[in-house]
């Protein structure tokens, strides 16, 4: 621990004695950081409008962001999928992964250089009446 640093206490706490929990910012305890100003944003909501039935039984990438960190970063990926009318217009949700057994899998995940949103469908959950939203954050912090 160095003898210098930076901290900002929360209202009502003396910054000289405040614990990390009583600080808004503390240089000994980093926060999760998501880059601003990227050509493909590192935090956004992906909105996929399906135009028809997709190829079945094949995992397909719907969206790829090149983060180029060189390691797998930690991510949030809030998934909301409205299935086709034919399959009952169910809303399928999840964080990072959402699906129905072995018949549907939507993932928002990372490799060492990319953030990827993919879908696997073998029950025709996806057609022109379905819609997918993924609200994601790609952080600089390690995911593995």
């Amino acid at each position: 621990m160095s003898d210098y640093g930076f901290k900002v206490s929360l209202p009502g706490y003396d910054v000289g004695t405040a614990t990390p929990e009583q600080c808004a910012v503390h240089s000994s305890y980093p926060t999760f950081k998501s880059r601003v100003g990227q050509s493909l944003p590192h935090f956004a909501t992906l909105d996929v409008d399906f135009t028809g039935t997709i190829t079945q039984n094949v995992t397909q990438n719907l969206y790829v962001v090149d983060h180029n960190y060189g390691y797998i970063p930690f991510t949030f990926g809030g998934i909301v999928f409205l299935t086709s009318v034919a399959t009952g217009s169910q809303t399928i949700t999840g964080n990072g992964r959402a699906g129905v057994g072995a018949t549907l899998e939507i993932q928002a995940y990372s490799t060492t250089n990319q953030f990827i949103v993919s879908i696997y469908d073998n029950f025709n959950y996806t057609d022109a009446t379905s819609r997918l939203q993924v609200s994601y954050y790609i952080f600089a912090e390690n995911g593995t």
Binding site: V25, F32, A44, D47, F50, T55, F74, T93, G94, E141
Partner: protein, 251 residues
């Protein structure tokens, strides 16, 4: 609330008028601060004296909300089953101490990015000239999770939903990111009693789930699995669930 403090915005936003979620930080609420991280090989002792907010990541970097085999106490992060060595994050944010931040509605209009100014705070022993964002505790060229509210309380036996419910208004003018944790005293789902485990959202999970709406965080649990109402801790972040939209059509 004091009438002084500090705050910084992300590039392109006027710090004096911008909405709170477009700030890099404000002294009125805490950033979500990482106290410890590593790869899980065995139970992790933290000795913080309170149960902290924690995350587990999958091998693909996703937050693992299905990680019911992980739980946290006031002394350690524990795993009751499972294989591998996933990444964990233990935050310096108590799950058992209520907190509510102020809300600054402000403007959501952002100007062009201007990187000629900003604030960077390097971590202990790291250079403020580093190009690696992991070397910074704070960097105004990034967005970070900010804590809006921590709510801790016992569920009510309403007979609605799955039977037990807890509804926590967030008061924000947008649907926020939020995470929920459950601490049962007795259960038949394999959760560790008297410790907090993360709650999955609603799809495909028996016994308990949470949902985020435009007004509140809703948690419900089934008395069939929980003989007495569990305690729920909810962490609401000052970060919108729905952000700038990237539109795509497929196929």
């Amino acid at each position: 609330m004091a009438d002084y403090g500090t705050k910084a915005s992300v590039p392109g936003s006027d710090v004096s008028t911008i909405a709170d979620y477009l700030l890099s930080y404000s002294s009125s609420w805490p950033l979500l601060k990482v106290g410890d991280t590593g790869q899980f090989l065995s139970n992790v002792t933290h000795n913080l004296g309170y149960p902290p907010l924690f995350f587990i990541a999958t091998a693909s970097g996703q937050i693992d909300e299905q990680a019911a085999t992980y739980s946290v106490s006031s002394t350690s992060l524990n795993r009751s089953a499972g294989v591998g060595s996933p990444r964990y994050y233990i935050c310096r944010q108590p799950l058992n101490q209520n907190f509510t931040s102020t809300i600054l509605p402000g403007s959501s209009t952002q100007g062009s990015m201007d990187y000629d100014y900003g604030i960077k705070v390097a971590r202990d022993g790291k250079s403020a000239e580093s190009s690696d964002l992991r070397d910074y505790a704070l960097h105004s060229g990034t967005r970070a999770p900010m804590v809006q509210k921590i709510d801790n309380g016992v569920m009510s036996n309403t007979g609605l939903g799955l039977g037990y419910e807890r509804i926590v208004p967030h008061g924000l003018p947008y649907v926020p990111l939020a995470f929920a944790f459950i601490m049962p005293t007795v259960n038949t789902l394999g959760l560790t009693n008297n410790e907090y485990s993360i709650i999955p959202d609603s799809t495909g999970v028996a016994g308990y789930y949470y949902q985020i709406t435009s007004t509140s965080i809703y948690v419900t649990a089934d008395p069939f699995f929980f003989a007495s109402p569990p305690t729920i801790a909810i962490a609401i972040l000052k970060n919108p669930y729905t952000l700038d939209t990237v539109a795509r059509t497929y196929p």
